[in-house]
Amino acid sequence: MPKSQFIDPAKVRQSGKIEFKDIPVNQYHKSIEEEKVNFSKEQFKDIYHDMVLIREFETMLNEIKVKGEYQGISYNHPGPAHLSIGQESAAVGMAYHLDEKDFIFGSHRSHGEILAKGMSAIHKMDDATLTAVMQNFFDGTILKIVSENHQGDLKSLARRFLIYGTLAEVFARETGFNKGLGGSMHAFFTPFGVYPNNAIVGGSGDIAVGAALFKKVNQKDGIVVANIGDASMACGPVWEGLSFASMDQFEKLWEGAYKGGLPIIFNIMNNQYGMGGQTCGETMGYDIAARIGAGVNRDSMHAERVDGYNPLAVIDAYSRKMELLKDKKGPVLLDVLTYRYSGHSPSDASSYRSKEEVEAWEDQDCILSYAKELTGAGIASIDELEAIKADITELMKYSMTLAIDDEVSPCMDLVKHPEIIGDMMFSEGSVDKMEDRPVEVNHPMEENPRVKQIAKKERFAFDTNGKSFSKIKQYQLRDGLFEAIVDRFYKDPTLVAYGEENRDWGGAFAVYRGLTEALPYQRLFNSPISEASIIGTAIGYAMCGGRVIPEIMYCDFLGRCGDEVFNQLPKWQAMSGNVIKMPVVIRVSVGSKYGAQHSQDWSSLVAHIPGLKVCFPVTPYDAKGMMNTALQGTDPVIFFESQRIYDIGEQFHEGGVPEEYYEIPFGEPDVKKEGKDITILSIGATMYRALEAAQELEEKYGMSAEVIDARSIVPFNYEPVIESLKKTGRIVLTSDANERGSFLKDMAQRITELAFDELDAPPVVVGSRNWITPAYELEDYFFPTKEWLIDAIHEKIVPLKGHVVTNNFTNAEIIRRSKLGI
């Protein structure tokens, strides 16, 4: 909602109609003779070579899956193999113009794209760069294997490198491109510009946009291609990616070198089936997928259907579209028509299509018809083409023999190194800035209005007499977050932040107030209301080497980016064999007062997913220190904040919140109040209610409670809790998450296991009810209060003299509720 843009009612209320630009369909009509000006004989033959390379690679895998052998070499491959036999021309055409600075993202069916893009990069890289890539990758492990007995030039060595590295990855070998942790559906090789392929349909639809955002914000060369299937056009995250990529602000609000569209091509590899569902005629209504462009922006995304059965048609389309991207006219949508003869997977009986249909396409096979063109035009003889094919078959035999040899290509040894995967879950980096260059800011930090305002605030909540300053005078939790974030914006030139209402509004809860003044558009902007794209693009941005703070305005909206948070963000560091770093700090705000869809604490959900760090600081001191830690790290962090306490002052840290930079390590719980009779362990803002309970326990029942603030839950060090338990022997755990399946339960179990003999009663969990969150007026019946805590202690841990309960924590009640599922 920039004020600079005036919405004129007179104008927008005028009548008229929308006219769509024409979307060309299969408009390529050049003959091979005409193309001779564009390609040398060698280039024509290279195209043939790359197509046959893919065909043979996929054929090899198909034979292994179906017959258990290829060319007399037997092997059992239990893993997946989603093959693209028939689609080779589409992949080779797509990759033909791309070099290693252009990034492609793919799907579960992307072997062909890996090979096509790999070959294209190899063709274009100079010898020194190519050698360095191969030598440096995993300390030259793969290079050493393929160098043995190699005769020929560097490019042919690199070809071996590409085929072997991909195949070993498909076979889950430690010598594969991703140490065997990616496998067939996730294999990739970033030094050739091949970015992660994705086993979730449409998974690349938003991630690739983030890569394009990275290219733009950091002024990097190259374009990004999102290879997605025709069926993925039904996926919400893909549409969200399209929406994000086509935001008006790139053209209308971003300035200078940053003005203009994202350098991205959404490349629909349209093989006309989504598994067995026929997209045109059955499961979709777009008829021709290129039509989608018309609905997205004024340029109809420069959409076009291209005959993907002719590699030259695809190459031609890319020549034209890449010019558009150079002129910052992206995004582009290409509907590359193709067909796969192989099943969705080897178990596919093709019950959804007729034999005649498959044969009709085979009759027009892209490789055969291209070969006919080459021989007909006198570019290559049949013998030459046969020789190319024979050479490739030898290469496959060679690569397969090596890749299945347990001596040369072992799988990870988890007996010898039982923690080898565990060690890859987090990269545990500590990095000031992801790139070393000056930061783009609008003014020196000390001139920032918010910075000036904070300078006047009281950094400790109480004066020397213990009297608290007024709320507005206190340095608040939101100020702690702001200080850490603004500091990083002035340190790390790659840092960007975005989400809903992040810019002019200053974030819905005023954490970013002042940042709008400090930062140009490309570093802080409003995203569409589209959580999947907010997180998906952040993942792509980080994969390429940037640091990013996406914001989810209410925790409840995490469901909107479930795939991105659960399947993408936590996986890529380990699935890449630690090639990729993921410095993404997702700010998630937990609400209250706004009912069932705006008040949930879902920290337990994300803690359940391996690969995410999860923290929930509740004091200004902790918030600043932990935000600093999150932003210094290279791991994905889900950073929870509570709307109940954005305005809370610092009540614990002596001397107040330091002005200088400091970090608070993840995993260390903090004793907020010492005590000796009972321990209360809290997650999130419930800590303040735990303190109230502690006060009442002390005053009314002579019981001294120790209050421990978990601060982070992944990782978490149980030792301080056990130490406390040794003293108190009793523990209550509390948070605002609803109690069933919450992380508190996990902690209670761990504590029982680790300190059984210290317990004078079972650890007791006091969470929210397993209901919808009711209106604010009824919240005290839903969220834990001090009374709940005291009642639970009385009922389950130690009966308190004279205490009268108001809540039912008896076993009978627990059983009743459980039986009903409430």
Partner: protein
């Protein structure tokens, strides 16, 4: 009529705002809709328009002031109108009072519960918390007969504590004895403040009740216990036994006795003299093993195990290889005596003072034993009694020959078996071929 300008209320939770700036000055003519002033909350900045025409008559705040919402901050009206009464609020402190809830520093103690005992029924399942059970077991509390005050009658820590408070204190020794012997706490003890001492304990089993006495260890016993235990813990000890033909020794002893005025050189003196000769040839045995290194001695500092009333002592004879047999004999008598008197130089008792030790039990008729090494020395020689053993005397004649048993315990960490055997054999050879001047 003049009207107040108030600080607007921005949202439910805002109690006060920071006033940022007046856009007009007192006396300015104001038109409705003119920007009048700016203010901010902790979330955002705002500008306020004038809501009526008039003249700005008075202002009651300036930039930076914190103003509670809905308070008057100025007056707008017609020239000459009075502003009295508008500023009544501003006299108050703008500081919003917030009661600090200081946690009472005087921490009250959790109240102690009353202890109620019951007849314990062996069939009844006892409900007790893990922590209470651990405490009960270590404090010997019969928890099965306590009525628990925890949830569902569970015995919890406070019950055990209450029980212990109701019983007299128990000395640590008494507690140990109770644990070992399965005794229960006496009702009242004979110790200080009624503390129960070991002697106050009553046994459950009358047969075995009082047939022992417990005495504290004297310090030297503790030291010996510690050193001996440490020796076996920290080294790889084993013992070789080998006999030496003692005819020569007995012959020499006879000569000593027969010689008028000769010093009283004992068999032990002679064995030690022979041993010193052997040690000079086996420096590996005359050494200390230090874990990652070995300390070789150029001199022999011979330790001699001496039995005293207070316990075993091992004084060292420094530079024993410089001494004649007479000198050695005198030294032995001297240190043995001072050990028995208790006035030996403590430095000489240190195990590091000696490079090798001899323990002679021959006098007591011991035929074979496995002495314990005085660490860090690498070996110790046990000298046994002399017994007659059948031997081939040559020419098909067999007879009984007096043999002295030698038991060499060595630390296999420092010495190998071959070396140890050769050394032990050398001692025997030296004994068998001993010559002495006296």
């Amino acid at each position: 009529m003049a009207n107040a300008i108030i600080m607007p209320r921005q949202g439910q939770s805002v109690e006060s705002c920071i006033f940022t700036d007046w856009y007009k000055q007192v006396g300015d003519v104001i038109a409705k809709g003119d920007m009048l002033f700016a203010y901010e909350t902790d979330k955002a900045s705002f500008e306020q328009e004038a809501e009526e025409d008039g003249v700005l008559l008075a202002v009651f705040c300036e930039a930076g002031d914190e103003i509670p919402v809905l308070q008057n901050i100025g007056v707008i009206g017609q020239e000459g109108e009075s502003v009295d009464g508008f500023n009544s609020n501003s006299a108050e402190s703008t500081e919003v009072e917030i009661q600090v809830t200081e946690v009472d520093k005087q921490v009250q103690e959790e109240p102690v519960v009353e202890i109620v005992l019951k007849e314990s029924d062996s069939d009844e399942r006892v409900k007790i918390s893990p922590r209470a059970k651990k405490m009960a077991e270590s404090e010997l509390v019969p928890y099965a007969s306590i009525v628990g005050t925890g949830p569902e009658g569970r015995v919890i820590v406070r019950d055990i504590e209450a029980y212990l408070l109701s019983k007299p204190k128990v000395t640590p020794l008494a507690k140990e004895v109770m644990k070992e012997e399965g005794l229960t706490i006496a009702e009242k003890g004979s110790g200080l403040a009624g503390a129960v001492r070991a002697t106050d304990l009553s046994a459950n089993n009358p047969v075995y009740g009082n047939d022992f006495e417990i005495k504290r260890l004297p310090n030297i016993r503790k030291l010996i216990a510690k050193a001996m235990h440490a020796s076996l813990q920290n080294s790889a000890q084993l013992t070789h036994h080998l006999g030496a033909d003692a005819r020569r020794l007995l012959e020499l002893r006879k000569q000593v006795k027969a010689t008028e005025g000769a010093p009283n050189i004992t068999i032990n003196d002679m064995v030690c003299f022979a041993l010193i000769k052997a040690l000079k040839q086996f420096p590996d045995a005359n050494a200390h093993f230090l874990g990652d290194s070995v300390k070789y001695f150029s001199k022999v500092h011979l330790g001699l195990a001496v039995d005293t009333e207070r316990g075993l002592m091992v004084p060292a004879i420094k530079n024993a290889d410089d001494l004649s047999i007479t000198g050695l004999s005198n030294q032995f008598k001297e240190v043995a005596e001072s050990c028995r008197q208790g006035n030996v130089d403590p430095e000489l008792l240190n195990s590091e003072a000696a490079s090798f030790t001899v323990s002679n039990l021959g006098n007591y008729g011991v035929e074979m034993f496995t002495p314990v090494i005085n660490l860090p020395q690498v070996a110790i020689l046990g000298v046994n009694t002399i017994v007659p053993r059948p031997a081939d005397l040559g020419g098909g004649v067999y007879g009984f020959v007096p043999y002295m048993g030698l038991s060499l315990t060595y630390d296999h960490q420092a010495l190998d078996g071959g070396m140890a055997t050769r050394f032990l054999k050398q001692i025997a050879i030296e004994i068998e071929n001993l010559t002495i001047d006296f």
